[in-house]
Structure formats: C-alpha cells, structure tokens
C-alpha cells in the first residue's frame, strides 16, 4: 500500500507542478487587453493611408467604447467624412452618413476609409472578447500566442501575436484567413504614457500582401477611462455622438 501511495503522491506533485508552470494563454490575453486600454474608455485616433509613392490621406476619429462589445467611432476630419459615425454592437456594424440619415449595415471586412485598415480594425473590441488562445509559447523575452476566432463572424480566423514579456504589450500581430492566407501584419510601437497608469503603444502600423506597397498607420491620443450610458451605442444616438466630447 505504501509504495502505491508514494507513487500516487509523486504523480500528483508532477501534475500540479506542471499545471502551475503552464502558460495560461487566455489569462495572459486578458492582461494584454487591460494593458492596452480600460474596458470602457474614450480616445482620439489619426488614421493615415500611405500609398506606394509616399503620398498619404488622413482621417481623425473620436471613439467611445463600453464593456465587451459596444463601440462607436465618429469622423472629425477630413471635411468630406466629418460627422460620419460607425457603431458596433457585438457582430452588428452600421455606418451613419449625415444628411442621408438612415444608418446602413456594414460588414467587418469592408473599409469605410479605404486603405489597409478595415472596419473591424477601426472598431476593434478587446482581443479576449473575439478570440481564444489556442496555443501559447514563451521565449526569453516574448510570449507567442496563437488566437482562434470564437465565432465565424470575426474578421480574422486566426491571429499570431507576439507579446513583450516585460510590459505585456503586443508587438506584432499576424492576421490569417480560415484558408491560412496571411491577410495583414500589424505592428505596435512608440510606447507612451497616456496617464492614469496607462503605458501603451501610441502607433499601430499595418501592411498587407493583398495591398503591396501600401500601408496604413494609426496614431493614438487621449485614451481615458470613461463610462457611458448604454443608449449612446444605438442607431438613434449616432447623429449626436459629437456631444460626448
């Protein structure tokens, strides 16, 4: 009996030891999300589409997010886009065009601004809301996470994310279609202090093998924790989003 007990105890120690040392990818992903932004917040972004000849086109957006799946983005510039607003509620997305009135449903793969960023990049929810970690590895200075979309409605089927071990901030993300084709690569850089303990990248750059020679850049500013009423994230409120600023 004694040798059997010792064997079972040894097995338990080995198993619990392994569990304690294993990388919990989903918990890590949650930490990455909170390092990037509070769950509910407002922010300003500049989006720049850069063409192969170096010329560029810029857009400025004000964005509000609440909870896991509510987000609205208002175009402040250029004049041709001013007042347009996009709303996301879970998998639902709409575009409101001033003077046209009725918001129309749009899809995550479309782009309201052209260039490499699509609507799901502009209205990005927390990574942990849309993805589960299917594989997690670590190196001396990085975590390597492979994320799988929780539903088929998510824009990218798989993400491969490199996370800095020290800061828990994402460095690069490769986005793949279900076919395994690389759709785009996102690169975060320029760590900045946004106040309230939020230290995160102020720049996101993306390029795509589907748009050779083109790239898009997103610059972040004034990311502040803020709570909003649920009714802000409704079609009827889209003409009034500017009142939140």
């Amino acid at each position: 009996m004694k040798p059997l007990f010792s064997l079972l105890l040894g097995l338990l120690v080995v198993l619990t030891g392994t569990a304690a040392g294993a990388l919990d990818g989903n918990a890590l992903l949650l930490q990455v999300d909170r390092k990037m932004n509070p769950e509910s917040y407002e922010m300003y972004r500049k989006l720049i589409n850069v063409e192969p000849d170096g010329s560029s086109k810029e857009f400025v957006l004000y964005t509000a997010k609440k909870g896991q799946d509510k987000m609205v983005a208002l175009f402040l510039s250029p004049a041709s886009e001013q007042g347009r607003a996009t709303l996301r509620l879970g998998d639902n997305m709409w575009l409101y065009i001033p003077n046209v009135g009725k918001p129309i449903r749009i899809t995550s793969l479309q782009s309201v601004i052209g260039g490499v960023f699509n609507n799901s990049d502009i209205l990005r929810l927390d990574y942990s809301t849309e993805y589960s970690v299917s594989k997690a590895e670590e190196t001396a200075d990085r975590y390597l996470l492979q994320l799988k979309a929780k539903t088929p409605t998510v824009a990218y089927d798989t993400l491969k994310m490199e996370v800095d071990r020290e800061t828990l901030l994402p460095l690069t993300i490769e986005a793949y279609a279900a076919s395994g084709m690389l759709i785009k690569t996102l690169r975060y850089s320029d760590i900045d202090d946004f106040g309230d303990g939020l230290l995160r990248p102020a720049r996101l750059e993306t390029d795509s093998p589907l748009y050779r020679g083109y790239k898009s850049v997103m610059l972040f500013a004034k990311i502040h924790k803020r709570d909003f009423a649920d009714e802000v994230f409704t079609l009827n409120y889209l003409p009034k989003v500017d009142e939140l600023r």
């Binding site: 810029e58 879970g90 009135g101 009725k102 449903r105 899809t107």
Partner: protein
C-alpha cells in the same frame, strides 16, 4: 426663390475647367514622408460646426424626340442634344449651447441650360433640438426623415421625401415637424428599443405638398434591435387618405451578406386611372407596397446591391402605355393626368434595382467603378449607368457617369425625355 433669365451658354468654359481640374487631380498628389504627427488639440470640440460642399456639374443629354414625357409640356425640343452646367453649394452647421442645438442645411444652385439661366435656394433643414438626457431628444423645425431600410426606395418612408435612386445618398428637403424620441437599451435578445413620434401639420403654406390641407398627421416609429435584426414598426395616422402602416427589417446573415425588406399597407386610397375608353375614373383601392433587397461584399471587394420593389399603388404597363399615347392625342388631359399620378417617378408597379461597385480594382487606390441599372419589370424598359468615382485627394470627389435609357415606344424608359446623359461632377467638401 426661382428665376429664369436667358443668357449666353458658357458651357465650354465650364467643361474645360472641370476637365482641367480633373486631369490635374489625376496626375497624382504630392508625396509625403513617413513623419506623422497627431496634434489632438486641433480637434477639440467647438460650440459650432460649419461645413458643406461646393460642386460643379456639366451634363450632356441626347434628347429622345419621340419621348412622350419630353413633349408633355407641349414644347418641341429645339435640338437633338441639350447641355447644362450647374454650380451648387450646400452649407450645413450646428450651434450648441448646453443641452440644446440649432441645426441647418441650406442649398443653393445656379444652372445655365439651353433654355436659359435657372437658380434656386432652399432651406432643407432648420431645427432646434434638446437632449435633456442621453436617451431622450425633442426636435422642432424643418427636419428631413429617412425611414426604411431600402437603398433605392422606401415604401415605409411615410414622411420621407422620395429618393432619387440614381443618387440615393444625396440630402433631401425636410418637413416642418415637432418630434420626440426615447431610447432604451437592454441585455439579451432584445438589445435596443427606440420610439419616435412626429407631429406633422399640413396648413396653408406649411407642408402643403404632404397631403390634405388643414390637418395634423402623427407618424410613429418603433425601432427594435432584436436577435441581431433591425426592425421598425411604422405608422402614419391622419385622415383616410393619409393613414398607412408598415414594417421593415435589416439583418446581416454573414459578415459580408445583408438582407433587408419593407412592407407598407395603405387602406382605401383614391387613384386616378385612364380607362381603355379614354374616360378618367377615380378608383378607391387599398394597396400594399413592398421591397426586398440584399447587399453582398465579395472577397475581391465587389459590392452588390439588389432590390425588388413592388409599388402596389402604381400603374400597370397597359395603363402607362395608354397614358403615353394620350400625350399625342390629348396633351392637355395628359398634363392633368401627369399631375394626378401618371407623371411621378416610378409610377409603374414592379422594379428591379441593381448596383455593382468595385473598390480600388487593380490596386488603383480610391478609384471606384460602378454600374447601376433600374428595370421596369412589366414593360422591360431600363436605365443603365456606368460610373467612375475618384476620391484620392482629401476633400475632393470626381465622378463621371453615363446614363443610357432603353425601351420600346409605350414603355416607361422608352418614353423618357432623353436617351442618354453624360455627367461630370466635381465636388469639394469644406
């Protein structure tokens, strides 16, 4: 404000200006280095917003000399072609104080055409709104409404001005109304509910073109976001001729495939009909109109919009054909019938709308070619409009569009005033 004043035609000058500007735009923008900065204070909120656009448009039309709708006013076309040059400015703005705001949308256009100079200036919108709480808004003034989920037509748009399906996203004139709206959000299958009530008076000089005079109409819309589907229940309550009810929906079936639809019912409305014996009868009948549509985005960025529209109160192809023949035999009676319903756009019963647009084909960034067609299903006549749109320069938009109309004699598009139209439009947003 309208005036007509014959003047020499400076169309060639405008065309040169438009083409010159277009070519200058297409030669390419200045290159910029990758040293981007973001001064967010530039975008701090002000108590007022002021923006709009200025537009130049040159049009060339090939006249259909046999088209009944071109001859209905009794005039004979002077030429086989017609040119128009139009300059338009639109100003929109908002002034805010505390929880209230004043909003306006003004438009003015001057047009030099073969028959002289025309100009217009209109107040499309001018209204106050008050938002005492995030979920409640009250509005008073001239406001435009855009109810319905259809892209080209809106059978449930009971208080909308009709769209131009050729340019459905252009702003339209509103009505003088008083409105209140409240929104409530929930967790669960039903995520949002919004109730909008609109009082629309029809008096001498106020909303006269809306319906019967000296009455107060009430329009109500209840919006639901239920099971990821937009649903609107819509009613217009007025006199017997005005009242109608409808429902619409819109839903994404997949990330790139949306379906939508509308159905509206109108009880016992009067319709003026030209009988086979030439007499004009006023018929009282109930009518249901409906629309079913889809929007699809392919992997190569082809957006397809297709809509089928059944206009329950419309005329059959035989009734329309009878009317077109009347233009030659009894033009005065035809003019009167045109005002009673035969002359309105999309007076037939069944239409198909299809639009195909490809974003940035062959890696040509900011270039969008599109093809739009509208078919009168009963008589087989149709319009076909290929176009090219370029938006590569901040705040500039250049569009070239050709519209071709085809149909036998006695059909809707066969009897239009022109056979073809080419249009070059340059718009600058400020």
């Amino acid at each position: 404000m309208n005036s007509v004043d014959p003047a020499p035609l400076p169309l060639h000058l405008l065309s040169i200006l438009l083409l010159g500007t277009g070519l200058a735009l297409l030669t390419g923008p200045a290159a910029a280095a990758d040293t981007f900065s973001f001064d967010v204070e530039e975008f701090s909120r002000k108590p007022y917003d002021f923006n709009g656009y200025a537009e130049l448009k040159a049009e060339h039309e090939a006249i259909d000399e046999s088209g009944a709708l071109g001859r209905i006013d009794g005039s004979e076309p002077l030429d086989s072609t017609r040119q128009r040059a139009t300059g338009t400015v639109q100003f929109s703005g908002t002034y805010r104080w505390s929880q209230a705001s004043f909003n306006w949308l003004l438009t003015a256009a001057g047009q030099q055409a073969s028959d002289g100079w025309h100009d217009t200036a209109d107040v499309y919108e001018a209204f106050f709104d008050v938002t005492p709480a995030t979920n409640t808004t009250a509005t008073i003034g001239k406001t435009s409404y855009n109810w319905g989920t259809g892209y080209a037509w809106n059978p449930v748009g009971f208080i909308n001005r009709p769209k131009d399906p050729g340019d459905p996203e252009e702003s339209r004139e509103g009505y003088l109304t008083m409105a209140a709206e409240t929104i409530k959000s929930f967790d669960g299958a039903l995520r949002n509910v919004a109730v909008t009530g609109v009082l629309l008076p029809v008096l001498s000089g106020v909303n006269e073109d809306f319906g019967a005079a000296d009455q107060l109409d009430l329009a109500v819309k209840v919006y639901l976001l239920l099971l990821d589907t937009d649903i609107d229940l819509v009613a217009l309550i007025g006199d017997d001729q005005t009242s109608r009810f409808g429902i619409d929906f819109s839903r994404n079936l997949t990330t790139n495939f949306e379906v939508h639809g509308e159905i509206a019912y109108r009880h016992e409305t009067t319709k003026v009909v030209l009988s086979p014996d030439g007499s004009v009868v006023r018929r009282s009948e109930s009518a249901s109109s409906w629309l079913l549509g889809l929007r699809h985005l392919s992997t190569f960025e082809l957006t397809t919009i297709i809509e089928y529209y059944h206009n329950g109160g419309g005329y059959s192809d035989e009734e329309l054909s009878r009317f077109y023949r009347l233009v030659d035999t009894a033009p005065q009676q035809a003019r009167s019938l045109a005002r009673s319903g035969y002359g309105r756009p999309f007076a037939g019963r069944d239409y198909l709308y299809a639009r195909f647009s490809v974003k940035e084909p062959f890696d040509l960034l900011y270039l969008t070619p599109a093809l739009t067609t509208i078919v009168n299903i009963a008589d087989g006549s149709f319009s076909l409009a290929p176009e090219l749109m370029y938006t590569g320069f901040t705040n500039w938009e250049l569009r070239l569009r050709v519209t071709l109309l085809a149909g036998e004699a006695g059909t809707e598009y066969g009897e239009k005033a022109n056979d073809a139209r080419a249009e070059l439009r340059l718009r600058y947003y400020f």
